[in-house]
């Protein structure tokens, strides 16, 4: 909005009378704009700004859940603890590292797999709807159920489905292996089950992107004798570029939120907590198991800033490609 006065469409009888008119119109515009944006703005303030502001305020206090004692102001002490206190910062930084590992594994894996599935299922086959539904099915399952199923698969005893399968395939040379308990495979297990559960969602978005590519382009490519790979490389990929970037961004933001599977598997037993603790897990257990709202708020505020920065960097990189 600039402060320059735009020429009034109706000739003004005098300069003295013109000013109030434009001013009135401008203030009327402003009222309209405010009215139009009010619902969204109110929602934004009530559900995003206020809780976040509240979190920032709480993070500066010693506050306990359910306590009727007033929170005591401690300044940046909570931040100092989660960032420099050897016990707490170790856990927090480790959780952050776990989050990054998870994201680095999940984002390419899930996006790639979703793309592969989408290409496979973008055919005019009989009962293709059925295949699509089957691959989409895990998305509909609640994470609690998925975790229970995968607990059976990854169980450390020789009764575990994966262990007994490997036992069969190796002609009895494979013993029982503690997939969830070993620090080496605990995170990998969480990654695999998360990808299995979530990939259908990305697949559906990519499938929509694929179907928006006009058939003529493929026809043209075929006339040019482009191979299947060349078609994929020069028609399909450019055609779904924006969708792909969107999916990758979405997957990485979602992957930072990873919490349910870790929470459920730890409670189900046998999961290596240290190797799979994520920042959200740390925040939720600090807030609701230890009732320590102050520290949990500090964790979420720091995490929000980190995710914000990462997302901005990612967007910049994705846009940089465009130019």
């Amino acid at each position: 909005m600039s402060t320059a006065v735009s020429p009034s469409p109706t000739p003004a009888p005098s300069a003295a009378a013109a000013r109030p008119t434009t001013q009135r119109r401008r203030s009327r515009d402003w009222v309209h704009a405010l009215l139009m944006t009010a619902p969204a703005l109110a929602g934004l303030i009530a559900f995003v700004a206020v809780p976040f502001g509240y979190a920032v305020v709480l993070s500066l206090h010693k506050a306990r859940l359910g306590s009727d004692r007033p929170p005591a102001f401690v300044g940046l002490e909570q931040y100092r603890r989660i960032l420099t206190d050897p016990d707490l910062s170790g856990r927090f930084l480790h959780a952050l590292l776990n989050n990054l590992t998870f994201a680095l594994a999940v984002v390419p894996l899930q996006t790639g797999l979703a793309l592969a599935l989408a290409v496979l299922l973008n055919r005019k086959l009989r009962a293709i709807g059925l295949f699509r539904a089957v691959f989409f099915l895990p998305v509909v399952f609640p994470m609690a159920l998925v975790a229970v199923i995968w607990r059976l698969i990854l169980a450390r005893s020789d009764q575990g489905i994966l262990n007994s399968l490997l036992h069969q395939l190796s002609f009895g040379h494979w013993g029982s292996f503690d997939w969830l308990g070993s620090p080496l495979t605990a995170m990998a297990s969480v990654v695999v089950l998360s990808v299995w559960q979530g990939v259908g969602f990305q697949m559906v978005i990519l499938l929509a992107g694929l179907q928006a590519i006009p058939d003529e382009r493929y026809e043209a490519a075929q006339l040019d004798r482009a191979s299947r790979w060349q078609q994929f490389r020069h028609v399909t990929l450019p055609g779904i570029r924006t969708t792909l970037i969107f999916v990758a961004l979405l997957t990485s933001v979602l992957s930072f939120r990873v919490f349910d599977q870790v929470y459920i598997l730890v409670r189900g037993g046998g999961l290596n907590e240290n190797a799979t603790r994520t920042v959200m897990y740390e925040a939720v257990t600090t807030a609701f198991d230890q009732n320590n709202i102050g520290r949990a708020s500090a964790i979420t505020v720091v995490f929000f800033l980190i995710v914000l920065v990462l997302t901005l960097v990612q967007r910049r990189v994705a846009r940089g490609d465009d130019a």
Binding site: M1, G53, S67, Q159, V266, E273, N274, T285, Q290
Partner: protein, 442 residues
């Protein structure tokens, strides 16, 4: 113009702050009022097994039918969210009567959500409660809660498998096995078993949970330690004897069945199951006369067991405390206690119901639990001769259990017991010092 925009922007940004000041700082000061012993009382309970819920609902119905002055209404909250619900509800919004999990009581007292009940229930009700349950419900000399049932831990053993492997086992509380005996027995049983497993620790409940604390803190007490001693965890939870005990605990893992299907003991895959009284109905059905119950191993300071379970109290905001007390007298009477403990198999928490219980009375198959609970230690005087220890009665319990169970899970996963327990001790002590030791008098 620009100035005005700045003002508007400032207002917009200030709005949340205004919101905050409006919301914050509303310390609810609820005061209990006795009332005239009539009126409508509200009750919250955790939604347990169906059989338990039915008994509770029946108790409320028959109470309402037995008199006309008081009308009780019962509301169930799913167990998973129950404690969080109580924690997040302000004292003035709580119902007249609340059920709560034993170790959480101190936290609710500290946050002024509970009122002492002795003024409202009959002296006879208090006198008939078992000593262990009274120990759990008493804080600072005041009684805040009483339960219908108590709990105990033991090792269920499959006699047939033990005999087949030639393993000797205790026959009473007195000739308890030492930790070394127990480890040797586990190894011997595992060697005799084609699956090389011998023990079930209810790993499927998760060790990083309240089960971890409840089920495994007897190891701490039996090694002469404590979760906290005089408000400090350092030196209590990580003493050399406790660290040693957890090295032993760690050494069992190769012989522990992960029990993903929850049937390791029932199907005879393992001979020993370390669990609470609640496993009895399923175990006795599967094993019949092959089943026996043994005390937990002795790590030097005598065998110990955890105790404590759901309890009932009156909220500090109740305006009908007298009527609420009358309902509790009724609920904690033998008829309801017997109905409840028949439904869930738990140890009756009144002396008369316990003496009459076919499972727990002298000569009953679970008499061991009654014997153990008859020797309560409370939460502080953990001597060699007492057996049933109450989890720490402090508002810091949520932190203690979170830290201890995490350390336990780490140790089970292979972490060094010394490091893990010392870390838990530091975290607990820091939280206590942050909160002035959770002193009730502040």
């Amino acid at each position: 113009m620009t100035d005005r925009r700045h003002i508007r922007l400032g207002l917009l940004l200030a709005l949340p702050a205004v919101f905050l000041t409006a919301c914050g700082g509303t310390g609810s000061t609820a005061t209990t009022s006795a009332g005239d012993g009539t009126g409508t009382i509200t009750i919250w309970a955790h939604q347990g097994q169906d059989s338990e819920n039915t008994v509770l609902q029946n108790a409320v119905n028959s109470f309402n039918g037995s008199q006309s002055a008081i009308k009780a209404t019962l509301k169930f909250v799913p167990e998973k969210d129950y404690t969080k619900t109580l924690t997040a509800t302000s004292a003035s919004a709580l119902p007249d009567i609340v059920e709560f999990d034993g170790p959480m009581m101190s936290s609710f007292v500290y946050n002024k959500k509970l009122s002492p009940i002795s003024d409202y229930v009959l002296p006879a009700t208090v006198a008939n409660a078992t000593a262990a349950v009274k120990a759990q419900g008493t804080l600072d000399g005041k009684l805040y809660g009483l339960g219908m049932y108590d709990s105990g831990l033991g090792i269920y053993a499959n006699k047939k498998l033990l005999d087949a492997a030639g393993v000797k086992y205790p026959t009473s509380v007195l000739d308890d096995w030492t930790a070394a005996d127990f480890t040797a027995a586990v190894q011997k049983l595992a060697a005799a078993n084609p699956s090389h497993k011998a023990l079930d620790l209810k790993e499927d409940y998760g060790l990083a949970t309240e089960w971890g604390t409840y089920g495994m803190s007897p190891i701490v007490w039996s090694a002469g330690g404590a979760l906290v001693k005089q408000g400090k965890a350092a030196g209590a939870i990580d003493s050399p004897a406790v660290v040693d005990a957890f090295r032993t605990f760690q050494s069992w893992k190769p012989y522990v069945d992960a029990d993903t299907d929850g049937n390791a003991f029932v199907n005879g895959r393992v001979a020993l199951s370390w669990v609470g009284h609640w496993a009895y109905p399923a175990y006795s059905k599967a094993l019949g006369s092959d089943l026996t119950v043994l005390p937990l191993p002795d790590f030097g300071n005598g065998a110990k067991t955890g105790q404590g379970s759901w309890a009932w109290g009156i909220s500090s905001g109740s305006q009908h405390a007298k009527a609420a007390g009358k309902f509790l007298d009724y609920l904690l009477g033998d008829t309801n206690v017997t109905a409840m403990t028949t439904a869930d198999g738990a140890v009756p928490a009144t002396k008369t119901a316990l003496a009459a219980s076919p499972l727990y009375r002298t000569g009953g198959p679970l008499h061991l639990f009654a014997q153990e609970l008859a020797e309560p230690c409370g939460d502080t005087d953990i001597t060699k001769s007492c057996v049933a220890v109450t989890r720490p009665l402090t508002a810091g319990y949520p932190v203690i259990t979170a830290q201890f169970s995490q350390a336990l899970n780490d140790i089970y996963g292979g972490a060094d017991p010394q490091t893990s327990l010392a870390k838990a001790a530091r975290a607990i002590d820091q939280d206590f010092s942050d909160n002035d030791g959770y002193s009730l008098t502040k």
